[in-house]
Symmetry: C2
DNA sequence: TATGAAATCAGAATCATTCTAGTTTTCCGC
DNA sequence: GCGGAAAACTAGAATGATTCTGATTTCATA
């Protein structure tokens, strides 16, 4: 499928751009680096940079943007029998994104960069939110509802907001559990 | 407080900019209008335009951005005795934002413009989200919890997401109720 | 009315992004 | 292995938002 030299070089260039961007952003800050500098570092022209990353500067470091679209929907579809939709989503999220415990320093640096840069946090959120449709479909299929059901769409959206909402907490895992408990049981007023 | 000629002129200029922007955006589309054109229409220089609207082109049509920060928090604080926090929020939201029923054509046009323009929808969302802190404080105060409690923050965030989530639905009011029911009772799996 | 703060301006400068038009590379059927 | 089409690449110009600079004007007020 993706076995031509062409495809290989393309992927390689995209990776070089992402690596150059992460390195330079980490060193000089997002606003301290121009796309021209990144293009130079990756040894391509500015036009080529934009050909590879049409979404622009924000998107440079996200070499994997598409994958997330399927993680959560797949987690719902392939959950073990008897496991609830929410439980499957909770487990899937706990391993990915900002919640993974010990990361190689490489990825840790990148995660901190995203969390500490509004523009990148924002773009990261957009990537998550883009999965709303597929996730809503999976949830609907799993629970015998319509994908357009507002309750289904709201649940999908709320789950997808969790990384941005809980990702910057002191204890992300605990925050993750707290939010899932809220979604599972609803808001219990007590005052 | 705000009774000098200076203040009056300032507010007037800000309003002229907002009106010019709404008119031109509605006529030529967001991308079909340059800030230079808007400045010209409002008879100010580009530099002055940015002095009045530091957040840039997105923010031009939102002459009232600050007010929303207090609506919802106030609704929680001033709710009638015995009314739940969620009920107060539901009622407040139902009257504001995209959920208001019959609007003067003026405001209806503006609402449609926002809903139909990604950049404006996005900025509108940012305005809502900016109220998360105050709203979380109000909720915490009303229910005897900490404002930093993840459950409180999550509820505040989720309520604030509702306009963007449900605002574009065919029947926004019904969608609003569906989402509030989800927040109130939690996700009831049934398959 | 004098004065300092705030508002205004024109124009240059930066930067992301897009466009143009021409060059090079890779692929693929022959 | 060869010829051309498709895809990728490039330099450089153009556009548009945003910021900066360095005056100039207006306002509030002592």
């Amino acid at each position: 499928m993706t076995t031509g030299r062409r495809e290989r070089k393309k992927a390689q260039t995209r990776k070089s751009l992402a690596e150059a961007a992460v390195r330079l952003f980490a060193e000089h800050g997002y606003d301290g680096v121009t796309v021209a500098r990144i293009a130079e570092e990756a040894d391509v022209s500015i036009a080529t940079l934009f050909a590879h990353v049409p979404d622009g500067k924000d998107a440079l470091i996200f070499d994997d943007g598409d994958e997330r679209h399927v993680w959560l929907a797949d987690a719902v579809r392939e959950r073990p029998p008897g496991q609830s939709v929410l439980e499957a989503l909770r487990r899937c999220l706990a391993e990915r994104g900002p919640f993974a415990g010990d990361l190689p320093p490489e990825q840790r640096r990148k995660r901190d960069l995203i969390v500490g840069t509004p523009a990148l946090r924002e773009y990261s959120r957009r990537l998550w939110i883009a999965a709303e449709g597929p996730l809503a479909e999976a949830i609907a299929a799993a629970t015998g509802r319509e994908p357009a059901d507002m309750t289904v769409r709201a649940l999908a959206r709320y789950v997808l907001e969790i990384p941005e909402l809980a990702g910057a907490e002191p204890d992300p895992r605990a925050a993750l559990d707290a939010v899932f408990d809220l979604l599972e049981s609803g808001w219990n007023e007590r005052a």
